[in-house]
Symmetry: D2
Subunit: 358 residues, 4 copies
């Protein structure tokens, strides 16, 4: 069941890094939505390898083919199958890891759990799996667009270089203006320089992505175990390399007093609203009509182009220097993945909320 | 579907703060497990109100009655229904909030989503709902005990008072030795003083709980959307007042380089292991046999015994000073809830992993 | 997961025949529905033992207590917990079956599957479990009532005594006028006589229940695996003692040609309709606005008050004559259970259909 | 959610009759199973159109491509994506039904539910969707083969020509020896003649398929709502054109007395068994180690090559004579589909049963 995401809007994904391709099935997409295939491809292009100096030079066209569920340009309510063929595989780059475990990769755990693994490019544990998430997310965004809900993510931290302000301070349309996907164009230059430096050293670096959901109506979220932020958190933590999730004031808010953190209600010209939004747009697990914002922590990429100690599958100690084409920092390409998971979650909970009242 | 948690080991919960009681149904509990009812009650007692000076003076016996699924002291494989009756309700304490929205509570969102709400004690959004989690968690612990898996949580931060070391530095058996549930007995005194000070001011304070899973075998976790840490994160974020989750090095690790964070493998007398455990016991979403550890951020309790601005349900601006019996800091009583959610998650994934190979 | 029924409207049930009680949790009940507790109790009374000469003399009040999810007479959208305490247990009646397997009961399979069983009154495999279904069904009916959807079942066959006509021929309000729950009052007398005769012989008898759903709008049902009749069939087959399900012309229609069975469309004063309804109100798995009707086959009750051969749990061949209080024919009391399962299914699919279009 | 089948072994399917293709994703396939691709293709060939005089002349190669989840000939535990491209489409054959509703087809209900439909070849409601079921079923059979569980279906009735005996009387290996897939080779000739006669008349005919599961261990099935026969029934009723399901003695058994129908236990050389198997291999919803057998009723195909009355989408009454290539009797090609659904169900419940005991 682990390859299906969602309750009513559901993505089932499949595919390995060096197999025939990566794809999926979106079930529960509302009928009658116009399918803008250029938009879907554009979303995929945002996560595509080789898109800038900062990312892996693996060149993949990553062309998505829609296999079902769309008729004369509109969704039919039937499942939407899709496939992205793998093309630019250099499987031989991985011959040297066939019989050893790369540090902080899934090689060891997959082998022990399943009794075997497809070692080429990390197989199923490769971040190439997120292709399916981006397609699912693009479809969800097409539906959310009709509802006036926007989802925007950006790189807010690389290593120790962090944006000093929260999302309200920035013009988020600048996010796509640079390779780092950071709306603070000055910090973006610093971040890019750090990534280049780390890359030159054969090393990698982590960071944080911030995401904002705007235009979300009141009422999305299902207490007790289906709180909206629990769903968002579970979604984000399922993305490769994610180590943490916080919304609203998050960990920083744990230091505060209630009198500092509560959001008081007021009457905003006939509409009940809050003057502050420390809650992050969710109260009691249900969206309250304010912006929803959250932060997602990514660890540094585990593949290093420098020597590391490790063991072979039979336990012999050895040393490994990775070959192949790898990202030194996953953040820029993970921005659309974060958006995709948020979009699917919000649409799913929008649909769930449709069943609250008769 | 939001009131059911889990895939194979499932808790379905019900109940409001001021209704007849809180209870639930555990489905998927393995058959043949000895049911130690004293242990279950003891776990409930750890979250019971009124257990110390630091918690709400609401006095509830919180006696759990097992209604099914146990025969001659052992689980039968049939669903385990249970009920904890509410007793010490002071529903009148809430008359003044019937027609207004408490800041940073779920009053507004519930009313808008459902068209009505049970305002007494927060109704379903009350943390009294976590009673069902503790019972479910206690049952899960009874099964995990047979498997040699231990789950231990403790208060690691209250306000800005944070433990300086990680869990390996402490004797976790000291956690229950003080009212704060902190294994650092000196810091516990400071934390208790801070809670008392905040409480005297009618204010509240947040904090962080750390949890460790020990003895977990290799192989638990289901990629891609069912990564073990994604399930743990979703579980923790579903607990009232939780705002963040991180495992391994979490947000701090986002600042690091891969060469600082990777866990190298070595041969530990014939057993493949890692010298460090920065990954937090999970790689590629699957447990690797090392300790699993994570941190959970709690916001300060929203109910303040000081005046706040707010609005009535018809939008009139007004002021509110809470009455009733409330915690100034939820952390000490949330420790068993964190453990309970972790226990249910780990057992659920243990059972899922049983179906990986024929 | 087996003790939860439904997708959006979900019943989770628990309880054994001779434990403290039987109950459940209804999750996903729409908010704002008026809860007529007298109606719920009346539905339970229709399945209650001891209600007529024809049923088991076990006397149970079967009073249902609602534990949550209802506030000031209306549903709140929160889970509805409920409990029916067991009272009139004669557990000693079952001492003689503790160590043997009753023919065609679940004793053998439960023992082998779970390693142990609660032998008293059949434990969880007792039809007393259907109490929870009746409560869940009564709640579903309260919602369906607002939607103008009626569900009516009746006994259409006992042994070889079968009604000669289909449901359109009968005044279904007569169903509750006799103990057999058959709208053909003459046949009802014959059926009652047969049941009495069989009972006097210590034997039991099977039969068929017919059910009709009227007022169902077009559009309920989710192809491919969620066809409405597949859901109804799965629901009915989960009722104790059910051996078959057919809808529309069912097995009889398998003998026919397409030209005999197709339902031609016509224009009924501006509304598209069909002149015939051989399809049974469902086409392609989706309701078409016509009446939905189906038939459910029940085997004879397995408990006989006559001697049977069997074996003990250690394999020794022996003989058994049941003691205790048992139904000779389960049909009259199963009528409300069939209705309950149909009501929950139809409401669940009504809610699912709410998410088809934005 | 309706396009996913199963709990732990799960098939998600997609595809329309005249789109790019039909495919799916199998999730939860145990790791390490040898994948015999010739066998999978052979199973598909059993349902392929154009395989004999009796079936539709639509010629489709129906070549399946495995896209993931298999490495060096064995399953990896990762999801198995697969695709069968459509080839021999004559979409123009359907131009005449674009704006009208075919009697007893899903045209009307799909249009009303979704607001639009892909009219070409029935779109998603086409039985071409069962391709995905056959692939999923073939994979399940590969796993069941290791467990010694066999699943065999055959045509037991066409129109009024029914086999006089139950499955034990026949050599089921003869099933594939004739185009009807009937192990009674004499009756098969009669059935083939009837199908040819009906086909010549532009008409269609229904029938019954019987299925037997052999070698199933004791313990599969999850009471209360997850009874094994309820799962099998729901699975069968989800197949296009199915109108009824019965297991064991089914509807015929409803006429009987308990003393005629109970299966007495005896000691079969140290193994507890039953002398008769009227129960159909399941007691209390759990397999008892005997053969599981059931019958599935199919209505006649709705597409007739003769004139029928109907209406256009705007309600104008009209007449329709189908064009194109259609089966006069779906039974021969449905035999592998029944087996596939049974195989997936049994494997799913086998895996569920692995989690009953620690």
């Amino acid at each position: 069941m682990s390859n299906t995401f969602g309750n009513l809007f559901r993505l089932t994904s499949f595919g390995e890094s060096h197999g025939p391709g990566v794809g999926g099935v979106v079930d529960g997409m509302p009928a009658g939505i116009e399918v803008d295939t250029d938009f879907i491809q554009a979303e995929l292009n945002r996560r595509r390898p080789g898109q800038s100096r900062l990312t892996t030079p693996r060149k993949e066209d990553d062309r998505v083919e829609i296999l079902s569920g769309v008729f004369e340009g509109r969704t039919t309510g039937c499942p939407i199958g899709f496939l992205v063929r793998n093309a630019n595989q250099h499987s031989n780059d991985y011959d040297n890891i066939r019989d050893l475990y790369r540090p902080s990769h899934a090689d060891f755990t997959y082998t022990r759990k399943y009794g075997l693994r497809d070692h080429r490019g990390g197989g199923r544990s490769s971040a190439r799996e997120t292709i399916a998430r981006c397609v699912g997310g693009a479809l969800a965004k097409l539906a959310l667009r009709q509802l006036g809900i926007q989802i925007t993510a950006y790189t807010s931290q690389v290593g120790s270089i962090a944006l000093p302000h929260d999302y309200r301070h920035y013009d988020l349309t600048l996010t796509e203006s640079n390779d780092v996907r950071c709306p603070d164009t000055e910090k973006a230059v610093e971040m890019a320089a750090l990534i280049s430096e780390v890359k030159a050293a054969g090393d990698t670096i982590g960071g944080v992505i911030t995401c904002v959901v705007q235009g979300c109506p009141v009422g999305l979220g299902e207490p007790a175990f289906g709180k909206l932020h629990a769903a968002l958190g579970g979604a984000m933590l399922s993305i490769n390399a994610v180590k943490g999730f916080e919304y609203g004031l998050g960990f920083a808010g744990a230091c505060q007093r209630g009198s500092e953190q509560n959001d008081e209600f007021y009457n905003d010209n006939g509409r009940i609203s809050t003057r502050t939004n420390r809650s992050g747009g969710i109260q009691g697990g249900i969206s309250n009509g304010q912006d929803i914002y959250f932060r997602v922590a990514f660890k540094p990429v585990a593949t290093l182009l420098m020597e590391q100690k490790t063991v072979t599958t039979d336990g012999t100690e050895t040393r490994l220097t990775a070959r192949g084409r790898h990202d030194a920092c996953v953040l820029p390409r993970a921005v659309p993945v974060v958006e995709a998971m948020a979009a699917m979650t919000v649409l799913d909970y929008y649909l769930l909320n449709r069943t609250t009242l008769l």
